[in-house]
Structures are given as C-alpha cells and as structure tokens.
Symmetry: C2
Subunit: 107 residues, 2 copies
C-alpha cells in the first residue's frame, strides 16, 4: 500500500481525532486530538502526544502525571480522518483517576 | 448521578463524535458523528443513527446494507464531548466490507 494512502487527513483546524485503546484489555481509554506535529512526535517517540484544544499546546500524555501511553500500534480508518492507537498505559487515562475517561454509562 | 451531568456536549457544529466498539470482541469498528436528533433516535430505537457530515443528513447505519448496529450500551467521557457505543453489529462496519474501518495499520 502506498504511503500516501496512509496519510492522515487533518480537519479544517489541522486536527484529527485519535481513539486510544488499551492494547492488552481492549478497553477504550479516551479520545483526544492530534495535529501533524503531535502525530509526528508520537511516531518518533512511541509515546502518545496530543494537541490540547483547551490549552492550545502540545500535550505529551503523562509528562506530568507519569501516566504515559506507550504506543504499540497506530491504525487509520477507511477515509483517513480518524486514528486508533493501541497503547500500554502506565496508569489511568483519565484526569479523574479512572482507568478510562468513559466511566459513566449514559444508557 | 444527575441527568444533566450526562448531557452530551455538542461542538460548534452541533456534533459529537461517537466511537463504535463491538460489544462482544472489543474491536473498535468505526468513529462517526451524531447530532442531537441522531443521538435521540439511537436512544429510542437502540440502533445506531449518525449524522453524515458529507451528505448532511441522518444516517441510520445499515438501513441500506442491512448492517445495522444494535446498541447495547452508551458511555460518555469525562468532559462529555465524546460517546462510546458498544454494539452488536449485524455485519461489517466499513463500506469496504472490512469488519472495522480501522483495517490499515499506519505504524
């Protein structure tokens, strides 16, 4: 498959959503956003780096908390506008301390 | 937990991303978008209904293909701006025929 077919398509804000899944358990941990630079850093360092839309800055997940996410695999969807990261998390994904940010059942 | 705490926060376009996960296998199948109406229809019918950003219309997943997604659970994340649907899919999630839209490994 040609490399260009795997090129991420960023939205009008230069961002692409990334679903983060625990590589071992399959639990969906969080969804965050990446710009081109954070994706490049993630590919280089094999640790998840996002773009914080609220703080408008690069966000190396776990840089402060220690809860880094070691990236095992990165998948891209059929229309190349969403990423799926399979990671080994060093700790909880959520700032609340929950393993996953999806800790509340709506229905 | 008060109902309002579980209220979905739609973005400036009135949309919220929804991660769709196979309830049995844990495989992440796709990510699509919902507006308030599609979320309401999903809650009512227990089948996934999205908002097609390209066609700008409600999109009852599987209405044409038969590959409906029976919704078992809906979870909402800590900041209430992303949904996670756990579904029983009647067939492939992807228009390519792949089980998951994430069938291409980037890294």
């Amino acid at each position: 498959m040609a490399t260009e077919e795997l090129a991420a398509r960023f939205d009008a804000n230069g961002l692409i959503p990334a679903v983060v899944q625990d590589a071992q358990t399959g639990q969906v941990l969080m969804v965050a956003w990446m710009n081109a630079e954070s994706l490049q850093l993630t590919l280089q360092t094999r640790e998840a780096v996002f773009w914080s839309r609220s703080r408008k800055e690069l966000w190396h997940k776990g840089a402060t908390s220690g809860n880094v996410q070691r990236v095992r695999e990165i998948w891209i969807d059929c229309d190349a506008d969403t990423l799926l990261l399979k990671v080994d998390p060093a700790g909880p994904a959520c700032h609340t301390g929950a393993t996953s940010c999806f800790y509340r059942r709506m229905s």
